[in-house]
């Protein structure tokens, strides 16, 4: 099951990018003034309102053409799995980041404003205030929706088959075309996706339990 490996590494890699970028953009959107909140909004609206597949094509087909010729050629000449894996990774990571950013923003805004005021009264700088006070609480609030997002990213990896990455679903299609064993090929892959979904849910559920604080128990409970 080589396809399973590609699906898992694409999903986990993209998840890492998405968490980092998503948190930064989400924080940017809650800043009181300046150009950053607006840029954050542009980022989120752009990535949320264009289908993932179109974004995939953009990274794979369009971007190498728009870059300087030498860079574009270098990208196009990457070895087979990497030539589609890298664009898919960037694409899925940045796509999911926009969705995570919205959740992070909602999480921060759900905190009582006294938290922010108390932090600045105690002399925290803006960076420390977010890092030590606001984000740890916000993440606990949004864990249930993050669980959903984590399960979605595994399903979204299947879109990478359109730019030639032979992940799980593409594997099923290839087996079907070579052997005509439609039921077996798609049946096995369906079950693998079910198992992945179950495992992803289990992992996130454990994290939710471990991270729960007594005072926030209401917010940390499952929906």
């Amino acid at each position: 099951m080589n396809g399973l490996g590609w699906t898992l590494s694409l999903a986990l890699g993209a998840w890492t990018i998405a968490l980092i970028v998503g948190t930064l953009v989400g924080v940017a959107r809650t800043l009181p003034r300046g150009i950053l909140p607006r840029l954050g909004r542009v980022y989120v609206e752009t990535f949320r309102n264009i289908p993932l597949l179109v974004q995939m094509f953009f990274w794979y087909f369009v971007l190498p053409e728009l870059l300087p010729v030498r860079v574009g050629m270098a990208i196009k000449q990457m070895d087979p799995p990497w030539g589609s894996f890298v664009p898919a990774l960037i694409c899925l990571g940045l796509f999911t980041a926009a969705r995570i950013a919205e959740q992070v923003r909602a999480g921060i805004q759900a905190l009582p404003s006294g938290q922010m005021q108390a932090a600045s009264a105690l002399g925290f700088g803006q960076g420390n205030m977010y890092r030590l006070i606001l984000l740890p609480q916000a993440f606990r609030i949004i864990l249930p929706t993050l669980t959903n997002e984590f399960m979605t990213i595994f399903k979204n990896t299947s879109v990478a088959l359109t730019i030639g990455l032979v992940e799980l679903t593409a594997t099923a299609r290839e087996i079907n075309e070579n052997t005509f064993r439609t039921f077996e090929a798609f049946g096995v892959v369906t079950i693998v996706y079910l198992v992945i979904a179950l495992l992803a849910w289990q992992i996130m559920h454990r994290i939710e339990r471990a991270a729960q604080l007594p005072a926030l128990a209401g917010g940390g409970a499952r929906p």
Binding site: E45, T46, R48, N49, I50, P51, L52, L53, V54, Q55, F57, F58, F61, V62, E65, L66, M151, K155, N156, T157, S158, V159, L161, T162, T169, A172, R173, N176, T182, F186, V189, T190, Y193, L194, I196, A197, L198
Partner: protein, 228 residues
């Protein structure tokens, strides 16, 4: 590389026909999905153990696998299933559009079912008891009392899911159907105009979805204000 605007202009009629198919899939998916999804939601709330377990299993299964995989399932299985039902013994060729319509209804119903179920749960239990006390049959209670309130409560989420559905229609690319993206791809490959075509469809999707999501946001504000 230069962007050639005339290439976009000459492709417009074909792109519009693709957009029309995208709209058709969305309309069929939304209507069929909400009808089938509501039935699933009612089934999940049923007191009959078998019915509720089956509905739950269906919803969870559909929500755990990617849409592309479901498209492939239907694409390969429906011809075979029709062949079996008509006893012709071999698969019957089925058009891509039928495959796509069936897929979207089956798949989106699972997502709509969850939303409608949340709507049912948001109605106060007194409403259910009142229906019973008034002697309404289950059918009438759902049609006249419960369903309208449930839909009203979750209308913004329902519409957001519809925007997602509109974006998801682009995935029919995998069976070479000619929706908006499919039309763009065919022209892009014929004329070697990948950049122009993909940027154009990107802009079209963005404008439609952004306008729709702004509308939902406004509606959400108005509903929240009207409720209490």
């Amino acid at each position: 590389m230069m962007v050639d605007l005339s290439a976009i202009a000459s492709a417009t009629p074909y792109l519009l026909s693709g957009l029309w198919f995208t709209v058709q899939i969305t309309v069929v998916g939304v209507t069929g999905g909400i009808v089938f999804g509501s039935l699933l939601a009612v089934a999940r709330l049923s007191r009959n153990r078998l019915v509720s377990t089956l509905a739950t299993a269906y919803v969870n299964l559909m929500r755990s696998i990617p849409l592309i995989l479901v498209i492939f399932w239907v694409f390969f299985l429906v011809p075979w299933a029709i062949g079996w039902m008509t006893r012709s013994g071999r698969p019957v060729a089925v058009g891509a559009s039928l495959t796509i319509f069936v897929t979207f209804v089956l798949f989106e119903a699972a997502y709509y079912a969850e939303i409608v179920r949340a709507g049912f749960r948001s109605i106060s239990p007194g409403q259910y008891s009142a229906c019973e006390a008034l002697g309404l049959s289950k059918f009438h209670a759902y049609i006249y009392i419960l369903f309208p309130q449930a839909i009203r409560n979750v209308l913004p989420i329902l519409l957001t899911q519809t925007i997602v559905l509109f974006q998801d229609t682009s995935l029919v690319y995998v069976i070479s159907a000619t929706d908006l993206l499919g039309a763009a791809t065919k022209i892009a490959q014929r004329d070697g105009r990948l950049v122009e075509m993909y940027l154009t469809v990107g802009v079209i999707y963005f404008v439609v979805c952004y306008a729709a999501s702004q509308f939902v946001k406004q509606l959400q504000g108005r509903l929240a204000y009207g409720a209490r």
